[in-house]
């Protein structure tokens, strides 16, 4: 055979790309949520998710069942993020975007440091929400975990869509982010809306971390650092204002970096992060609104 192309390999690498992208999608959702509800990007989002994973680990370690720990962690993360927002973001609420960005960078170190301080750096594991037993169809292997992660992302997209579309709270969140001054006139407590946005994003981040940790088999304090860049790239690819876009973008990105790594010999598997960078740059240049975002004129 002249062209003995390994179709199974192509399919397998695509499925693996979906599997990786499925974990990035969850953090990408958190980034989209905070962007939509507060208008900023939280560079500490990944580290906060990592911190949530350690909380979950401690809860499981103290004998809670997996699901109890899961939901308790989400609750703690939401409450914790609201508190953090009140303490460190509120004082700079009126400040330029750059100031807020720097504060979130400071927060990145604080959260990372706290996690290293409270928990030793040894390798840990978190139980799986879904079965990891392999399933093989036509030579292509995957697991329930992969499907589960993607299903959770899509479920959360529906939830977010419903929140922003049908609830007063969602409307208030959006209004507060888009036009704080007018929202204030309408009686929306803008400052609290921002805090709530932080809380919800951290809740999503917690889910993301708690599903990423078992997907990567084990974790330590560096868990979410590479994931953050991929999540940024996925969110940008899908459109940073679109939850569905964030999930689709992350899945696409996962497939893209894998196929490029597999079939473009020069790039290979150790240049995945620069490929993600190229995706971010390419999308921002060609179509800044992303694949799923609405192209809208921005006020200058």
């Amino acid at each position: 055979m002249l062209f003995a192309f390994d179709w199974t390999q192509l399919a397998q690498q695509t499925v693996i790309g979906l599997s990786s992208g499925g974990t990035w999608a969850l953090l990408a959702l958190a980034i989209v949520l905070i962007y939509r509800s507060t208008g900023v990007i939280n560079f500490a989002q990944g580290e906060m998710a990592m911190f949530s994973v350690f909380i979950a680990w401690s809860l499981v370690h103290h004998g809670l069942t997996y699901w109890a720990a899961f939901f308790l962690t989400i609750a703690i993360s939401i409450a914790g993020a609201i508190a953090v927002e009140r303490v460190v973001i509120r004082p700079v609420e009126q400040a330029p975007v750059l100031t807020v960005v720097i504060v979130t960078l400071g927060l990145l170190f604080v959260v990372d440091g706290a996690a290293r301080w409270f928990w030793s750096p040894e390798t840990r594991t978190l139980p799986n929400a879904f079965s990891t037993s392999p399933i093989t169809i036509a030579g292509v292997a995957f697991s329930w975990q992969d499907l589960g992660n993607i299903a959770v992302s899509l479920g959360l997209v529906v939830l977010l869509w419903g929140l922003f579309r049908f609830t007063k709270l969602g409307l208030a969140l959006r209004a507060a982010a888009v036009n704080p001054d007018e929202s204030r006139l309408l009686g929306i407590r803008v400052s609290w809306m921002l805090a709530l946005g932080w809380g919800l994003a951290a809740g999503l981040g917690a889910v993301s971390g708690m599903l990423t940790a078992p997907a990567l088999a084990s974790f330590d304090q560096n868990l979410m650092q590479p994931v953050l860049l991929y999540a940024f790239a996925g969110a940008v690819l899908g459109g940073i204002e679109s939850p569905l876009g964030a999930v689709a973008g992350s899945l696409l990105l996962g497939v893209f970096v894998n196929l490029v790594g597999t079939y473009v010999g020069w790039i290979g598997t150790d240049l995945r992060l620069p490929v993600a960078l190229a995706v971010i740059l390419g999308v921002l240049l060609v179509r800044p609104a992303g694949l799923f975002g609405k192209v809208s004129a921005r006020r200058v």
Binding site: V88, L105, D112, F232, L277
Partner: protein, 336 residues
Amino acid sequence: MRRALGMSLWVAMVSAGLAVFLFLPHFVSDFHSRDLAQAGAFFIAIIGLDLLTGYTGQISLGHGALMAIGGYTTAALIVHEHWRDVWTIPLAGIAAGIVGFVVGLPALRLSGLYLALATFALAVAMPSLIKKFSGLTGGSQGLQFLESSPSQVTGLSGKVTVLGHTMTQNHFLYYLTWSIGIVGLGVAWLVVRGRGGRTFRSVRDSEIAAVSSGVNLAWTKTFAFALSGVYAGVAGALYAIQNEIVNPLSFTVSISILLLVGAVVGGLGSLSGLVLGALFVEYLPTLSTNVSTREGVPDFIYGAAIIVVMILLPTGAGGLLRRLARPLTTWLYTRP
């Protein structure tokens, strides 16, 4: 009368600054001059970042990558082309300036947070890119000047003679870096003082207003990026010369964050406080490990210090200095 007084006060302050620059090494230990030289390299990069972010409002979280371009240009010229280390500095500046210009082109279409994201991604991806071009960059090992071309390293014998003055290598690095830093500060001052500064600031404050008053937006923005790149490149070159190596692990995203923190602490949109910003980022990590070496605590303190400074001093040291000096300047510049 008061004008003249103001003028002489200004001259006095500049002279005092120069005197500190000239004599400081004689009041601290020899090693300390080296520490200060490293702060000087950060200072230069921070000036460039302030020109970009403070004056034209373009956020860069990727200046460490531009520093890497400068550092690696210097290293490649020393190791592959056998240049003397100090003579590589101009070329390192030019190389990073060109890269800055290229980065500035896409930046034209990106504003605010998007630019922050794109430059952040650049900073994260830089070490892998450096490692990939291992023929030029030495891969994960990096390039080591003392090992491969010791004769190009100034001060190898421990003594350096410049214009008839003999000094230690650490003093030489201090004077080299901070002389360039002072020249760089002067150039920046000239750029932002007159029409150039007004153009820069108009881009930052309102692009529409800037365009309608005849500012060439594209040119101004890319020029700011290129100029900023030159500063970062020179800083990277000096950083490499001081350490006598370059390595991908030295140009991770943390150095980009460090520079931005330095610029913000120094005070964006003013040049007076940037020295303090540079000293802040140079000494903060050491100070935080002095508090406790318990794992995590240094990172925690580092981050907390950044947040506290941002909350208490949103305009940075520059803003604080201006506020402190306000009664004086008001008095000086009001007609009696």
